[in-house]
Every structure is written in structure tokens, then in C-alpha cells.
């Protein structure tokens, strides 16, 4: 019964919010592609076929092959897995870090808050892509590093949001009453502040998935991707050498990036609209 209600509530929200609806449909498509990659992909993405730089429409290779004879369509399909994983893991790292740090700053206030705020200002003033580049280039382009570094350099936005949430929540009656009943500060933070203030961070995290995917694509495009996995950025990087004759290699991989990033933008923006009905009324 209760489950049914949640389902109905989700459907109602989706019916009203066209951005969110589009985003969710696209996301389902993406997840299916990632999940069933071995079934959908016509070829093994790592196998080198004899036809090098064969154009789209070549028998057996709908989107053609790349400079080493790999099937571009299969590479793109498997690349979905990499991009989604990087996006979700990096955004989660930044979401969790941001929530905890911002929550502590806002809820505890005082010196802790001042210290954390200064720290966030410090981060705000460092060019983050520069930093990511240095770390990945100098310490090695392992996919784990890439995810962690992207996550570690993007948490400040979340922290800022959570801090504001915590500051306003801690004045609310239910938090005051929990305090009066002697609940410990950490318990209040994890049981009341974070669960009640997390929604804007969820929306922000969805947006961060997009930017993480873009960051990874950018890194790969500079030749700093993990050579052991297929990723869209690497396909574009590889295809660049065969431009303009082998245009299809880079083109289709780029379309896949746009499609995926768009999906998460739509969901994030849709969530924001659901969360702040005032903006919705304007539209």
C-alpha cells in the first residue's frame, strides 16, 4: 500500500514536470545500455578488426571502425559504463564530503564554521581543472585517481548549500526540542539536520554527475585517460588524429557525451524545480 503511494507520488511529479520526465526516460535508456552492453554491442570493443578507419555503414560496423580497427559503436556502448561510473562515483564523493563538512560548519557554527568557511574560500580560489590536470598527469591516470580527484575538487558547492540548510534548520522547533531532550550533537546532525536538508544537495549532485563526466572527457581528450578502459573522451582523443577523413570516430562519441550530460542536467534542473515551487510558478 505504502509502496504504491510512493510510486503514485513519483508518477504525479513526473507528470507535472516535463524536464524531469525527459531526464528520467533518457536515464533509463542510458542505464539499459550500460547494463546490457555485452548484449547490445555488436562487437568486442577491444578487438582489432582488419578494416582500419572504415566509414559508417561498413558491413558489421554501423558507425565504422577507428584507427586501430575497433568497432566505434561497441566502444561507445561500453564507454557508457565508464562515464556513468565516473560521474556517479565522483559526484557521490563530492556530495558526501560536501554534506558532512557543510553540515558541521552550519550546525556547529562558531570557530569551526569560520575555519571551514576559510577553507572553502581557499578551494574556491584554486583553479580546479588545473589542479585535476596536475594531479592526474603527475600521479598517473588510473580511473580510481580520476574519480577521487574530481570528487575531491568539487565538494565546495555542496558544502555551501548544506551549510545554509543547517544554519536555517538548527533554528527550527524540532531541532530545538531534540536539543532540549538531550540528544547528542552528532546524533542531531545525522538524524535531523542532514535528512531534512539533503534535498537541494541531491539536485546539485545530479548536476555534478554531468560536470564530472565532462571533466573526465576533457582529461581523456588531453591523453590523460586511463588506458585500460574505454571512455568517450578517449575515443574523441583518438579520433582527432584521423580528422577530417575519419570524422565519425570523434563525432559519435561526442554525441554520446552530450546526450548523457543533458540527461543529468534535465534531472537536476527538474529536481530543483520540484524543490522550489516558486520558480516553477514562474514558468
Amino acid at each position: 500500500m505504502k509502496k504504491d503511494n510512493i510510486f503514485q507520488a513519483v508518477m504525479r511529479v513526473l507528470k507535472k514536470n516535463s524536464q524531469l520526465r525527459m531526464g528520467v526516460i533518457l536515464l533509463i535508456v542510458l542505464l539499459c545500455v550500460a547494463l546490457f552492453a555485452p548484449i547490445i554491442a555488436p562487437c568486442d570493443p577491444y578487438k582489432l578488426y582488419d578494416a582500419l578507419v572504415a566509414g559508417p555503414g561498413t558491413p558489421g560496423h554501423i558507425l565504422g571502425t577507428d584507427g586501430l580497427g575497433r568497432d566505434v559503436l561497441s566502444e561507445i556502448i561500453y564507454g557508457t559504463r565508464t562515464s556513468l561510473m565516473i560521474g556517479v562515483v565522483a559526484a557521490s564523493i563530492s556530495g558526501i564530503l560536501g554534506t558532512c563538512i557543510g553540515g558541521i560548519a552550519g550546525f556547529f557554527g562558531g570557530k569551526i564554521d569560520r575555519f571551514i568557511s576559510e577553507f572553502m574560500n581557499f578551494f574556491l580560489m584554486t583553479p580546479s581543472f588545473f589542479l585535476i590536470l596536475i594531479i592526474v598527469a603527475l600521479f598517473g591516470s588510473n580511473i580510481m585517481y580520476i574519480m577521487i580527484v574530481i570528487g575531491l575538487t568539487s565538494w565546495t558547492g555542496n558544502a555551501r548549500l548544506m551549510r545554509a540548510q543547517a544554519i536555517s534548520l538548527k533554528e527550527r522547533t524540532f531541532v530545538k526540542s531534540a536539543q532540549a531532550m538531550g540528544e547528542s550533537r552528532f546524533s542531531i546532525m545525522f538524524r535531523h539536520i542532514i535528512p531534512n536538508g539533503i534535498f537541494p544537495i541531491i539536485a546539485q549532485t545530479t548536476m555534478n554527475v554531468s560536470s564530472a563526466i565532462l571533466s573526465e572527457a576533457g582529461l581523456s581528450f588531453l591523453g590523460l585517460g586511463d588506458p585500460n578502459v574505454v571512455s568517450w573522451g578517449q575515443i574523441i582523443y583518438h579520433g582527432k588524429q584521423y580528422m577530417p577523413k575519419g570524422w565519425w570516430i570523434s563525432t559519435f562519441a561526442g554525441v554520446a557525451v552530450v546526450f548523457t550530460v543533458l540527461t543529468f542536467f534535465l534531472i537536476g534542473d527538474g529536481l530543483n524545480r520540484v524543490l522550489s515551487p516558486k520558480m516553477d510558478a514562474n514558468n
Partner: protein, 321 residues
């Protein structure tokens, strides 16, 4: 006010110092030895390596190196490139011009287009124009600039041959004077268009949503109730209030301008800061890398202070105390 600027400058200096220190340490902790890259051959002569290490102070500990570096910076010396042996200041100086020509132009064009379209779309909120521009902005927002750049080259340079594929000038032509300027402009068209297309949506969204937000404020109803013309309400009161977020964001973009756009500069082989940075990373050219980092941090810091001060002038609610 003066006290505020002083305070901000001091804390800015601290941030720059910390940031550079962090970066300095990070770079030197990284695996990969620049000396071995410099020495070149697979089996370099040990004496040569020692000589090189001594020359560049790499035989000392990292804190010692950092203190040395700071001392030199205070004297206005950012050191010399390991690779080309040229002074870092000169290397950076050569690249600032091209980067500004590209990025500054792109940012200014984007903020102008984005804000104007955003304001217009907000005024026509819900119209077909509004919906159309909103969907377009979504797509370009999701497009990676480097890929868009490749596509631009593919279409407008390789196929249509309207513009050159890459670089800043046609080196073979050896242009002088106005012809040189015109040639640079021709080379600028594609990279700037790429950047404008991917950055405009950002300013568009901010302008549109802040105009909509201001239009729903209570004071707009007050002015409507007084019988004031809507055009006057919009031009005088809505715009003045709605421009504040755009100023903040523009300030941030300008601050980060110098670090350049590595990706766009790479795609178009533009000889700017971004590419200098990237090449010095791959070649482990520590002095250049640290130098760029220092210059960028200082610029960011100064720009942010300037934005804060400017903000105080346009928003009376901000107080400096």
C-alpha cells in the same frame, strides 16, 4: 573601506601563499624525475645528473627549495625553464596576450549575448521564443567545448574551408601590420565561436532566472499599483536588481581567465597559457608550472577583491566592516 581592502588583501596573500605551497609540494612529490627527462638518454651519466640537480637546487629538501623559491619571487625572479632555459616570466608574458585575445573576447561576447537573450526571454516568459532558447541552451550547456571545436574545424575549416584549422597566424605568409591583425582575427573566429556557444547558456540562464525572480518580488507589485509604466518598472527597477548575480559570475569568470582554456587551446593549437601549462606538466617543467600557478593565483585573488569592491558599489546592502 580601506581597512576592508587591507584585510582582504592580507587574507588573499595568505591564500596565495598556501595555495602555491600546496602546489609546490604536490609537484615535487610526484613520481617522475625532471632531471632524467632533461638528461634525455636512457642511461644518462650520473655526474651530469648530479650537476643538473645542483644547478636547479633539486638536491635540497622540499622546504628548502620552497624558501629559495619565495626568496627569488620576492626579487621578481620566477626562475628558468628546465627545458628551454628561458626565464619563466618571459615565457608567461609571451602567452598572456594570445590567451587574453581569445578568452577575454569570448567571455565578453558570451556575457553580452547571454544576458541580453536571457533578459528578453524572461520578459517573454512562456512564449515560443523563450521555450526555444531554453532548449537550445540546455543542449549547448551539455556540449563539451573541445568536441564542439573539433566539429567546427570539421565543418567550417576542413569541409567549407572558410577559416583556418588551427594556430594564431599563418606562419608561411609572414604578414605585417593590418594584414597580420586580420589574419589573427580570421584564426580567432572558430575558437571564439566555440567558446561563445558553450559559455553563453551559462549567462543566459543566470540572467533569465534572476529577472524572473526579481519580477516576482513584492516591490514590483507596489510599482504596478502606483500606475507606473511597465517599461519603466522593467528598465529601472527590474534590471538594476537582476544584474547583481551576473556581475558576480562575470567576476569569477574573469578571475579564472588567465589559467586559460587548456582544452580549447589544445583543439585549435592556440599558443596561450593553457597550452604552456599543459606542455610544462607533461615535460615536468617545474619552474614554469609553479610560475604559472603563482601568477594565476595572484590574478584570481586580485580579481576577487575587485569584484567584492565593485559589488559594494552596485548593491547598497553589502557593507564593509
Amino acid at each position: 573601506m580601506k581597512r576592508y581592502i587591507g584585510k582582504r588583501a592580507l587574507s588573499g596573500l595568505l591564500v596565495v601563499l598556501l595555495s602555491v605551497c600546496f602546489n609546490f609540494t604536490l609537484i615535487r612529490l610526484a613520481p617522475g624525475d625532471p632531471i632524467r627527462i632533461m638528461a634525455g638518454t636512457d642511461n644518462p651519466n650520473e655526474e651530469m645528473i648530479e650537476a643538473l640537480q645542483q644547478k636547479y637546487g633539486l638536491d635540497k629538501s622540499i622546504p628548502e627549495q620552497f624558501v629559495m623559491f619565495l626568496g627569488n619571487v620576492a626579487k621578481g625572479d620566477l626562475g628558468y625553464s628546465y627545458i628551454s632555459d628561458e626565464s619563466v616570466i618571459k615565457l608567461i608574458g609571451e602567452k598572456i596576450g594570445p590567451t587574453l585575445a581569445l578568452s577575454l573576447t569570448a567571455v565578453l561576447l558570451s556575457v553580452t549575448f547571454g544576458t541580453l537573450i536571457g533578459i528578453y526571454a524572461a520578459r517573454k516568459n512562456g512564449s515560443r521564443f523563450d521555450r526555444f532558447v531554453c532548449s537550445i541552451s540546455y543542449v549547448f550547456d551539455a556540449t563539451p567545448g573541445f568536441w564542439l571545436g573539433l566539429m567546427m574545424i570539421l565543418i567550417f575549416a576542413s569541409s567549407l574551408k572558410w577559416f583556418p584549422t588551427s594556430g594564431m597566424v599563418n606562419l608561411r605568409a609572414n604578414y605585417k601590420g593590418f594584414a597580420y591583425f586580420a589574419d589573427v582575427c580570421r584564426h580567432l573566429v572558430l575558437p571564439i565561436s566555440t567558446m561563445v556557444l558553450t559559455q553563453t547558456p551559462y549567462y543566459f540562464r543566470i540572467a533569465r532566472s534572476s529577472v524572473l525572480q526579481v519580477m516576482s518580488e513584492d516591490f514590483i507589485t507596489t510599482f504596478k499599483a502606483t500606475g507606473m509604466k511597465e517599461s519603466r518598472i522593467f528598465n529601472k527597477y527590474v534590471l538594476r536588481n537582476a544584474i547583481l548575480p551576473t556581475v558576480t559570475v562575470l567576476g569569477m569568470s574573469l578571475a579564472f581567465l588567465l589559467s586559460g582554456s587548456v582544452l580549447i587551446e589544445t583543439v585549435f593549437a592556440w599558443p596561450g597559457m593553457g597550452r604552456l601549462m599543459f606542455s610544462s606538466i607533461s615535460k615536468r617543467d617545474y619552474p614554469v608550472l609553479t610560475g604559472i600557478y603563482l601568477v594565476t593565483s595572484v590574478v584570481i585573488c586580485i580579481a576577487m577583491i575587485l569584484v567584492d569592491i565593485l559589488y559594494g558599489f552596485i548593491d547598497p546592502r553589502i557593507r564593509y566592516d
